[in-house]
Every structure is written in structure tokens, then in C-alpha cells.
Symmetry: C2
Subunit: 226 residues, 2 copies
């Protein structure tokens, strides 16, 4: 296609399993659809606070449903998701502040590495039930994604600088301005219109808005590679 690619912004946090699903689906389609995908590391705790929303898992019946939903969607979308054993400690106590500041630094200094490092952090917390809050955990993910120890160490030192902290705050505020009350949020910029789509289950609607073809969560070209 000769047309200018449409910009899609994906606001995500690695603490959010539905963000992982949305992320993988859009990463698969970014070379199939005529889009320019911009990954935006965001702090989900900031979105919850600003919107007044509560994590769904605080309602027991939703928590029970989430476990099953994540298992079924993981199989369908072909993302190896597993619920962490101590879900509440991982999500509510440990959180993702350092991890998301690290991804913010990656995005500022080495944007070409952002997709891979994000995925390795999800692999830790949402697949292998490993920590993502300690410095060595973040370094391990960065190295697994292909960064050198020195490079990863350098970025890790930057996460306590105002530059990185403010950038993560700005991105989180931008998501809130689009109306976010959770993550993932996909913002599609189309012919002067802006559409904010919440969750990982609006991708077929997104295709419809883009005038592109929806071929399921695992499009055939990708399926051959998996």
C-alpha cells in the first residue's frame, strides 16, 4: 500500500496479562496492516489511581473468572500465560514501578529493544512466575532480550533520574487523557479522528476501523513461524 501508515499507540504495563495479549497481537499485525505501532510503557497503578478504578481481581468472582479466561485466551492467542501462584503479592504488593521505569529508559535510549525487553519481562512474571521488581530480575530480562550487561546496567542506573520518572508519568497521564481506566489501551489515529479502545478484545473492531482484514489473533503468516 502506498498510503501513509496510521499511527497506533499501545499503552501497556507488564503487570497486566491482557496487555500482553494485546501487545502480541499488534506486534504480529504491525507488518501486515498499514500501521505505525508505537509502544508506550505506562504505569497501571497510576491509571487506577487517577480513574478511581479497582483491579478486577479484588472481586472474588472476577478473580476466579480471570484465571480461567487467561488460561483459555493464552491457548487461543498462543501466548504461554500462567497465573502467578501468589497473585495478590505480585500484582498489588510488588507492582511494576521499576520494571516500567526500566522500559521507559529502554524506549528513550534503545527503542529498537523495547519489544523484546517487554516480552521478556512478561515471560518472567506472567509465564514463569518470576520476580520483576528486583534489579537483578530486570537485568536478567534485558540480557535475555539481547542487551549486554553493561548496556542494561547503564539503563538501570537511569531509572531513578527525574528524566525517566517524568517520562513514565507523562505517558501515564497521556493514557488518562485519552480516558483510560485500565490497560491495555490502544489509541488509533485515523483521518483526524482518535479512537481509544480498551482491552485486548477490540482487535477485530480495530481492524474494522482501519479497513484492514482481521485474520484472528494468530494471522497465517505468523502461524507458519510459531
Amino acid at each position: 500500500m502506498g498510503a501513509v501508515p496510521r499511527t497506533l499507540e499501545l499503552f501497556y504495563d507488564v503487570l497486566s496479562p491482557y496487555s500482553w495479549l494485546g501487545f502480541e497481537v499488534l506486534c504480529r499485525y504491525k507488518n501486515i496492516w498499514n500501521i505505525n505501532l508505537q509502544l508506550r510503557p505506562t504505569l497501571i497503578a497510576g491509571i487506577m489511581k487517577d480513574s478511581g478504578n479497582k483491579p478486577p481481581a479484588l472481586l472474588p468472582r472476577k478473580a476466579q473468572y480471570l484465571r480461567n479466561d487467561i488460561r483459555l485466551l493464552g491457548q487461543h492467542v498462543q501466548v504461554p500465560m500462567q497465573f502467578p501462584k501468589d497473585f495478590f503479592s505480585v500484582i498489588l504488593e510488588k507492582g511494576s514501578l521499576s520494571a516500567m521505569r526500566f522500559l521507559t529508559a529502554v524506549n528513550m535510549e534503545h527503542p529498537e529493544m523495547l519489544e523484546k525487553v517487554s516480552r521478556e519481562l512478561w515471560m518472567r512474571v506472567w509465564s514463569r512466575d518470576e520476580d520483576i521488581s528486583e534489579p537483578q530480575s530486570i537485568l536478567a530480562a534485558a540480557e535475555k532480550a539481547g542487551m549486554s550487561t553493561e548496556q542494561a546496567q547503564g539503563l538501570l542506573e537511569e531509572i531513578s533520574t527525574p528524566k525517566v520518572k517524568n517520562k513514565l508519568k507523562e505517558t501515564t497521564e497521556a493514557a488518562c487523557k485519552y480516558g483510560a481506566f485500565g490497560l491495555p489501551v490502544t489509541v488509533a489515529h485515523l483521518d483526524g479522528q482518535t479512537h481509544m479502545l480498551f482491552g485486548s478484545d477490540r482487535m477485530e473492531l480495530l481492524a474494522h476501523l482501519l479497513g484492514e482484514k482481521w485474520m484472528g489473533p494468530v494471522p497465517p503468516a505468523i502461524n507458519a513461524k510459531l
Copy 2:
């Protein structure tokens, strides 16, 4: 296909716009997939009370999102949805008790009319912003669906009987036992396994579980008729 059709139960309330989307999509697929679709009129207020969940529109940012989401999904799914002007009065004050008792009576006495009468009630409340709580509103929907005045009047008289009241309670309790915290809920019975899917956005996952083909919310055979 010679195989025995799989039973799907759709728990819904006409107060719920996402129930309407799920209902139309499953009604379109019921003659395409090898399924036996059972429509289950349910009281959403009962589900909210039992699960401790709150209507999403009580959070201002979710309410704002819902309006847009319903508009976009209505276009995509080809269901003529319009937000009622006084949303809170319609949803939280007037509610759907009489309408859902009426649909329960329809299901007990004239199950062949349930799909059409349900659709006409949705057309009133979620398309034309008309009342569904007064007796004459319910009668108008039933007549539009093809019932005679006498037939509709007879069913309306039954909605205050213990038989009908208890049946609606039982159905609502059955949804709660499956883990419902909102509507619609689709329960798929497959090879001795039971899957409960919440919302109107798990239909592609449902196709995957059934081993059937997902052809979008408006499958081609239906598209030709619309």
C-alpha cells in the same frame, strides 16, 4: 454434520447492551455452527447483588468509554444501538424486572417467540429510547414480535405468579453458580466440560473451543440477508 449439537446457554437481560450484541451474534451462528442455543432470560440486578459487582457506568471514565464502545460495536456488529438519553434512570431506577419476568413467561409458554420478543424489547430500550417497565410497553413489544393482544395480555397476567417469579430467580441463581458477575454469560457444554464466557467479546474464543469457524460478528450468509 452428523455429530450431536453442543448445548450453549446464553444468560441475558435486555437492560444489558452487551447482552444484545452476544444474543444477535449467537442467533446468527445458531444455524451455522453445530450448536443447540438455549436462551435464558436472567435478571442482571440479581447477578450484581449476588456477586457484589457494580455496574461499570458508575465509574465516570467507564461511563464515557461505554458510550463510545457501544456506538462503535453497534456499527461493527450491525445492531442499531443508541444510548438512552437518561441512562441512569433507565438502568438503575426503572430496571428490567417486569420485562425479564415477561420473557420468562414467554419462555415457559411460547418458547418459539422468545427470540423475537427479546429483540423487540432491546429495540425499545437500547435503540429507540422507549420505556420497557410499563405493562403497555411490554405489550407493544410482544405485539410487534407477532403475538396477539390476547396472548400477550395472558402472559403479562402471569408475571406476578410464583411460578414465573421463581423461574426467573432459578435462572439467575444458575448463572451465579456458573460464576456470573455480569451479563451476558455464555455457558458452553463440551465433551463433559463446562466453559463460562463473560461478555459479548469472547465469541471468537467460543468458536475456537467449539472447533467451529469464526467469520466475524456478521457471518456472510447473514450479511447477504441484512
